[in-house]
């Protein structure tokens, strides 16, 4: 068995006491920095990258893997505890995770996120080890038309992120697309919608939107309720650990999330990100069991599914990096940077020219995952304690962390003004019952969508039929149409039922 010999080479390289310590330290640092709102995995890795220069290559990569997982899990922790998505993939976790925390079930939510991620990470590692070369072939089949169709599918899936009006959810996605287009057009160099403000030519920062809309909007709405009626968090914390029923509910969600994440992670450019959204869509479309919490109100499946998908996607997104040398996202681009510092050129040749390193890296990804769970399960108790802090002390602190987070991103007060604007916008959204999660997905996908549309139409000389003529792309569009019908059906049915009642 190639797989087993290969993996044993990898573990032989990675599994030393020294490397385990590096993995642990990386994971701890990553978690501690990652929980700070506004500092996501990219910023964390960028900050800690210099600390790994002096280490031998394998140790450095192991530590970085630890930092990455730690930061990602730290981001999920803030999302669950204080409703602040520090990075794009935790936007989904916020929806049900924060509601669970408000109901005193932050412990099970955090445990579900951790356990789901660990399981997904293990599966992702195996897939990475077993199928890296053949899976790359699949990624090659994806041209611009396919990517565009995939994003359409993703955006329609995002409609499900909202639990209210369908029309408004679609409009919020479009609004997100529009906001994502602000800044310099990569093809022509024209600064769009920048109003001659130099900072806007770089586009609007994701952190500023996320912090403003989720963080400030939520705080203002909470404070608007008079104190004696306000119940941000229930005083009773119901258990640190998921109940037997929770495990029963989350297991299938974790499995589905893992499968989705592993598949989508292979696609460079947004695959891993879309997987979290896709997983939530699927979970929400699966019928609720008797007595199960509704989605958007604190359903554990809404946390476990996307978190697993996210982690599985993060794992398999190494495939394009290691086999093609294409970094699929910003985090991976930083990893490439780290590798080149250590004189490793990522690409197909790594696997043959440097098998110890290749398999060592794969093994170290798994070790990073393991450390995450070793470190974070005991820490759940500490995080829960945070929620017992009275709200009157908690909210000024959250405001401060948001402000520091956005400022430190570019060391520019302009982002502080932006977060203020989006705070007002976020409150307006809450008042008008326009849910913000779809907006953020649109915001992230906007520029990618435009780019792929442009490329696809350029290749087809302006012929729109390219999207239905290519079988893969057509398949994705059919799936999108089906999804739209599935999403529309319940509301149509509800209308009809209403009509019958009136008769």
């Amino acid at each position: 068995m190639d797989l087993i010999t290969n993996l044993s080479i990898g573990f032989g390289v990675a599994f030393t006491a020294q490397n385990l310590v590096y993995a642990f330290v990386g994971c701890l640092l990553g978690t501690l920095i990652g929980v700070l709102p506004g500092i996501g995995p990219v910023a964390t890795i960028a900050m800690l990258l210099p600390a790994t220069y002096a280490l031998p290559p394998v140790s450095a990569l192991i530590m970085l893997a630890g930092i990455y997982y730690g930061a990602q899990y730290g981001g999920s922790t803030t999302a669950i505890l204080v409703n602040l998505p520090g990075e794009s993939s935790s936007v989904v976790t916020v929806i049900d995770g924060y509601q669970m925390a408000r109901k005193g079930r932050a412990g099970p939510a955090l445990a579900a996120a951790g356990l789901g991620s660990f399981f997904a990470g293990c599966v992702g590692t195996l897939i990475l080890a077993a199928f890296a070369p053949p899976l790359t072939e699949l990624a090659f089949k994806f041209g611009p038309a396919e990517y565009f169709s995939l994003m359409i599918l993703g955006l329609i899936g995002a409609v499900v992120l909202a639990s209210g009006s369908l029309l408004k959810a679609i409009t919020m996605i479009l609004l997100g697309l529009a906001l994502g287009l602000v800044g310099t057009d990569v093809n022509s160099g024209v600064a769009r919608y920048s109003f001659d403000i130099p900072e806007l030519t770089d586009g609007i920062g994701f952190i500023a939107i996320a912090m403003g809309v989720f963080g400030y909007g939520e705080i203002i709405a909470n404070l608007a309720v008079p104190e004696h009626e306000r119940e941000v968090f229930t005083a009773k914390v119901k258990g640190l650990w998921p109940t037997r029923q929770d495990f029963k509910d989350m297991t299938p969600a974790v499995l589905r999330g893992t499968a989705l994440g592993s598949a989508l992670g292979i696609l460079p450019g947004g695959g891993a990100l879309l997987s979290a959204f896709a997983a939530y869509t699927i979970e929400k479309k699966i019928k609720l069991k008797q007595g199960e919490m509704a989605f958007g109100k604190g359903n554990i499946r809404g946390v476990a599914g996307p978190e697993s998908a996210n982690n599985a996607g993060a794992q398999t997104s190494f495939i394009p990096l290691l086999t093609l040398g294409i970094p699929p996202n910003a985090v991976m681009a930083l990893m490439v940077g780290a590798m080149t510092i250590h004189n490793i050129q990522p690409g197909p040749q790594v696997m043959t020219s440097n098998p110890e390193l290749f398999w060592g890296l794969i093994a170290s990804m798994w070790i990073g995952n393991l450390m995450l769970i070793v470190l974070n399960l005991p820490m759940i108790g500490i995080w829960i304690k945070l929620l017992t802090i009275p709200y009157k002390w908690l909210f000024p602190s959250i405001v401060l962390f948001c402000a520091v987070g956005v400022y430190s991103e570019n060391n520019n007060t302009f982002d502080v003004w932006m977060v203020a604007i989006f705070g007002i916008v976020g409150y307006l959204f809450l008042k008008l019952k326009c849910e913000p999660a779809p907006l953020l997905l649109g915001f992230i996908l906007g520029p990618m969508m435009e780019e792929n549309l442009r490329r696809a139409l350029l290749l087809s000389r302006g012929d729109w039929s390219v999207f239905v003529m290519r079988p893969l792309s057509a398949g994705l569009l059919v799936a999108a149409a089906l999804l739209l019908i599935v999403v529309l059906l319940p509301s149509v049915k509800a209308k009809r039922e209403e009509a019958f009642v009136e008769d």
Binding site: P396, V399, K431
Partner: protein, 162 residues
């Protein structure tokens, strides 16, 4: 015609206005053709779609009956003003306003100001408690962001530390 959902009516009108403005903005750039998309092509499509959706939402708000008229409700001016104000003051104190010659006051001053202003958004404001909170936050931020993470901050006012 009566407005049947105040919330949807307002959202619809706002969306349409934004969509029209966005599409109009797109036409100021080179739109181009499908095969050679200019910088205005995709924004124009998005803007038109937003405007259309806005109109749909507005019409729905006028046509579909709701139980309570879905009122927008009172705007919570107090938390809105104080939270956003605290954030703006933080930016002003941390970065200074070169436009009017205001120097940077540094991170510590900015944290105290933010904590005090933000706390005013709550219901009961106690000087003692807030001072303690601000001190903890200032100290904690200094240790975490400046000492440990080595982020680039102006910690003290420029006229003291230069």
């Amino acid at each position: 015609m009566r407005i049947k959902s105040q919330r949807d009516f307002c959202s619809g009108v706002l969306f349409s206005a934004f969509g029209v403005a966005f599409a109009w903005g797109a036409t100021t750039y080179n739109v181009g053709t499908g095969a050679r998309m200019g910088p205005g092509y995709f924004p124009l499509i998005v803007g038109i779609l937003i405007a259309l959706m806005g109109v749909l939402i507005t019409l729905k708000a006028l046509a579909v009956e709701t139980e309570d008229g879905e009122p927008i409700g009172r705007i919570a001016w107090k938390p809105l003003v104080f939270i956003i104000g605290a954030n703006l003051m933080f930016g002003v104190l941390l970065g200074g306003l070169p436009g009017i010659g205001l120097p940077s006051m540094g991170l510590i001053v900015a944290i105290y100001a933010l904590t005090f202003i933000a706390s005013l958004a709550g219901d009961n404001f106690g000087w003692k408690g807030v001072t303690i909170l601000a001190t903890i936050l200032a100290l904690g931020s200094y240790l975490a962001f400046v000492v440990a993470l080595k982020l680039q901050f102006q910690v003290w006012p420029t006229f003291i530390s230069g």
